[in-house]
Symmetry: C2
Subunit: 469 residues, 2 copies
C-alpha cells in the first residue's frame, strides 16, 4: 500500500512526541498539512495511527494531545492463552474486502459501493427527520418497527404469485445488518456440528458466520446457472443436511443468477429433503439488465428463509436488514436475535423506512442501475483489452463484481502484493471458497471510487500478471 506519506508523518511525529511533555498539544491539522505538504486525509490517517498506538489522544473541540503514558512496563498476557484454551475456529483476520484504502490507490477490492452511488441526500434528510421523531428516544420491539416489518413483507408479497400465501409482517425480523442475520440463522437453524450446504464459491461473510456458529460447512459447486439439482440432492442425501445457503441473484463473488427455470427444480430438491433454502438476496437493489425475483416468492410452506439487506444500497450507516421466515424457524431466529442483541436501533429503522418509501428512492434505483451498468461495461472492456491472459466467463446481469479467472499457476498472494505496490487493490478469490479454491481467481469490484481509473487498473493487473511491476 502506497501510504508512505502517512508513515513518514507518523515516524516524524513519533520523534516529536518522544521529546514532548505529556499533555502537550499537537499542532493543528492545518499546520501539519502545511508542514508535511500532505493532504488533510493523509495527516488524519497519521494521527489515527498514533491514537491507535496510544501515543496521542484527540479531545473533540479542543485538539490533539500527547498522552500521559503512566508506565512503560510491557504487559504479558501469556496466562490468557491457558485460560482461553485452543480456539474452536481459526481466528480469521479481517477480510480484504473490509480494508480501508488510502486515497491514492485504485480500490477494486471492496465489497461496498462508493459514496457517489448512495442516495446521500435521501439518507441525510431521513436521518434528520428521524432525529426529530420519537424514534430518537424510544425502544422498538425485538422483531422490529411494525411499519418496517410491513414494508419488507409487502415487497416480497408483491412478487408472490396468486394462489400462494404472501408473507405476513409478523414473519419479518428486522436485523442490524445481514451479517447478524447469517449468524443467527446458522446458530438457530443448525448449530454446532450440524452440516450446512453452501454454494461454492460464495460470500466470505457467510463462510465466516457458519464457522463461528460451529456448523460443518459442505460446499456445493455452483456455476453461472446455479447449482446442479442432482449434485445438490446428492449432497443432502450424503450429509443429512437441512440447510442450503445460496445467493440465487447476482451471487457474490461470481455475479451468477439462477435462470428462472432453475428455481423450481432447486426448491423441489430442498422440499424433498425436508430442508431450508437460506436465500441471501444481498444484491436485490443492484440489478443492471434485469430485476431479481426472489426464490422465496415461490414458497409458502416455510422452506425458504429470505435475507434482504438495505445497508449496501442505502448507506453503511443504516445498518438495517431483515430475515423473512415462517413457523418455528422464525421463532427460533427471533429467540436468537433477542439473546444476541435485544433490538435494533429504532432511529436507524425509522430512517430506513423513510428512505425506501420516498418516491425519490425509486428514482435513485433507476439511476443506480444505469451507473452500475456503465461501470461494469467500462471495467469489462478494460479487462478484455489489458488482461488478455485472464478469462472472464460471465458478464453479470447485476451485483457489484467481476469474477476473473487467472492463468493456472498464478501465485495469488504475490499478485496481490505486486498490484498493491503498483497502486491497485484487488481481492484474491481464495476467501470465497468454503473448501479449496478451484482455481486462481480475483474479484474486481466495479462499484468503488474513481471508475475513470479502471483502464489503468486493468493495465496494472495485466502488467503484474506478465511478471512486470
Amino acid at each position: 500500500m502506497n501510504d508512505s506519506s502517512s508513515s513518514r508523518i507518523v515516524d516524524d511525529l513519533r520523534v516529536w512526541i518522544g521529546t514532548a511533555a505529556p499533555g502537550a498539544r499537537l499542532p493543528a491539522t492545518r499546520a501539519l498539512v502545511a508542514r508535511y505538504q500532505a493532504s488533510p486525509v493523509t495527516v488524519q490517517l497519521a494521527l489515527r495511527t498514533l491514537i491507535g498506538q496510544g501515543l496521542i489522544e484527540s479531545r473533540p473541540g479542543a485538539g490533539t494531545f500527547v498522552r500521559a503514558v503512566r508506565t512503560a512496563r510491557p504487559a504479558d498476557y501469556g496466562w490468557q492463552t491457558a485460560a482461553l484454551r485452543a480456539p474452536r475456529n481459526r481466528i480469521t483476520p479481517v477480510s480484504t474486502a473490509l480494508r480501508d484504502a488510502p486515497p491514492d490507490v485504485i480500490a477494486l477490492h471492496s465489497g461496498y459501493p462508493d459514496r457517489e452511488l448512495l442516495p446521500e441526500r435521501l439518507v441525510r434528510a431521513a436521518l434528520t427527520r428521524a432525529a426529530r421523531s420519537a424514534a430518537a428516544v424510544s425502544r422498538p420491539p425485538v422483531a422490529g418497527l411494525p411499519e418496517l416489518q410491513s414494508w419488507f413483507a409487502r415487497e416480497l408479497a408483491e412478487v408472490t404469485p396468486a394462489g400462494s400465501t404472501a408473507p405476513l409482517p409478523s414473519d419479518v425480523i428486522v436485523l442490524p445488518g445481514s451479517q447478524s442475520g447469517l449468524s443467527s440463522i446458522f446458530r438457530a437453524l443448525a448449530g454446532p456440528g450440524q452440516p450446512v450446504l453452501l454454494e461454492s464459491p460464495t460470500y466470505w461473510g457467510a463462510i465466516l458466520a457458519a464457522e463461528q456458529a460451529g456448523v460443518r460447512v459442505v460446499p456445493v459447486p455452483s456455476g453461472p446457472a446455479g447449482p446442479d439439482p442432482d449434485e445438490l440432492a446428492r449432497a443432502f442425501a450424503e450429509t443429512s443436511a437441512r440447510l442450503f445457503y445460496a445467493q440465487p441473484n447476482y451471487a457474490n463473488p461470481t455475479g451468477a443468477q439462477w435462470p428462472a427455470d432453475r428455481h423450481d427444480p432447486v426448491l423441489d430438491v430442498v422440499r424433498a429433503h425436508g430442508a431450508f433454502l437460506i436465500e441471501d438476496d444481498w444484491a436485490h437493489d443492484f440489478g443492471i439488465t434485469g430485476s431479481p425475483t426472489p426464490v422465496a416468492a415461490r414458497d409458502d410452506a416455510g422452506h425458504v428463509v429470505h435475507l434482504r439487506s438495505l445497508t449496501k444500497s442505502v448507506s453503511p450507516a443504516i445498518r438495517v436488514a431483515a430475515v423473512i421466515a415462517r413457523g418455528p424457524a422464525r421463532d427460533r431466529i427471533l429467540a436468537d436475535r433477542g439473546a444476541e442483541s435485544m433490538y435494533v436501533s429504532g432511529l436507524l429503522q425509522a430512517a430506513a423506512l423513510d428512505i425506501v418509501t420516498q418516491p425519490a428512492w425509486q428514482t435513485h434505483l433507476r439511476g443506480l442501475r444505469h451507473h452500475l451498468g456503465a461501470r461494469r461495461d467500462l471495467l469489462v472492456t478494460a479487462v478484455r483489452e489489458h488482461v488478455a491472459e485472464a478469462s472472464l466467463d460471465h458478464v453479470p446481469a447485476g451485483g457489484l463484481n467481476l469474477w476473473l479467472r487467472l492463468p493456472d499457476g498464478t501465485d495469488l498472494d504475490r499478485l496481490a502484493r505486486d498490484c498493491e505496490s503498483a497502486g491497485l487493490l484487488v481481492a484474491t478469490g481464495d476467501e470465497w471458497f468454503p473448501a479449496e479454491p478451484t482455481g486462481p481467481f480475483v474479484r474486481l469490484n466495479y462499484a468503488g471510487p474513481n471508475p475513470a481509473a479502471f483502464p489503468e487498473a486493468a493495465r496494472i493487473l495485466g502488467r503484474v500478471l506478465r511478471g512486470g511491476r
Copy 2:
C-alpha cells in the same frame, strides 16, 4: 394488562375488515379516536395489532388499508420441527423487562429509564449533526471509530491508579449494545459446555446470553457486599471455570455495590485461578450517593474484561457500548464481533461521541443523579408505608431498581397477574436467578414513567399481597 379498550377496537375493526374489500382504506386515526372515544395511543396500539395479524397494512403518507389476503389456506410448518431438531437451549419468551406497557398502567417492570430522564435535546442535536457528517454515508472500522475508542479508554484511564498501565484505545471494541458484548464474550472466552460463574441473582440478559452461547452456568451467591471471596474460590476450584461474570456497581436487580475493600480480594481470587472477571458496568452513569469505580481500574494484567454501555443513559436509539479487554482475549472478542456483525453504524458512534463530549452531558448526569435519588426515595418511602409485609434489605446507592423480598410462600405468578389487573406492572424475581430463586422477590424500577404514581403502586402491591385486588 388493562388494554381492554385496545382489544375492543381490534375486535370491532376485525368485523369491519371482514366485510370490507381488499384495499379499502380505514378511517383516519383521528376519526377512530372520535368513534371509539379512545386515546390516539390506544388506537395506534389496535392498528399495530391488526398490522401484525396481517389484516391491514399501513402505507406511510397514504393511510391504512385492508390487506389483500391472497388465500386463506392455513399453513402447516410441522415439517420444520423435524428439520430443526430439539432446541439446544430452552426458547426463552421475551423478558418482562422488555414488555411495552399501555399508557394507563403504572410501569415498574421495565429495565429502561423513562424518556424524561434522557438527555433528549443533546441526543436530537447530536443525531442531527451526525446526519450531516461523513458518518452518515461511511463505514467505520470493525473495532469502532478511533475517536470513540479513545473516549472509552480515557474514561477508564482517568481512574486507573498511578503505576498501573491504563488501557489503550486499541483495547476498546465498540459494540451495538452491551447485550451483543455479553454474547460475544461468552462465545469467545468460554464456548459450548465450558463452565462460567455468574453472580446470583444477576441480570437476566447475561443469563440469556450465556445460555445462547451454550456455556454451563454456575451460580455464585452475591449479597449487598458482593460475592464472598472464599465461596468464589471454591466455585473456581470445583468447576475449573475461567470466567466470572459480575456487576460490582449497582447490580441489576439488587442494587448492590461491592465495597472498595472487596475489589482486591475478589481480583486476587480471579488471578489465582488464571481467570477473567467480566465486569458489567451497566449502571456507570446511574450513581446516586456515590460514583462507581470500576474494578477494571485495578487490573492491568488483562484479568478484567470491562463492559460499558451508553444505551441506557443516552438513549435506546443510540445502541452503542464498548468492551475493554487486553491481549488475546481482546483479539478473540474482536474476531467474534467481526463474524457476528462486521461493524457498528458509524452514525450512532459519531452521535454517541458527540453527546458524551459535550459539557451539557456532565450537567445532565448531575441532574440525573438528583432525579434518580428523589425517585428512589419516593418509592422506598411508599413501599415502607404500604407494603409492610415485604422486606427491603438494601437501599441502593445507584442503579434503577429496588429489590424487594416478599413473604415466603408468595405465589409470584399470581401476584404479577393480580397487580396487572389492578393497573400495576412489576417484574417478578425468578428471571434473575441462574438456578432456583432463593425466595420470592420482585424488582421495582424507579426510573419509569410517572413517579407521582409510586404511592398508588405501593398501595396496589400491598393490597394484592394481602389477598385483595
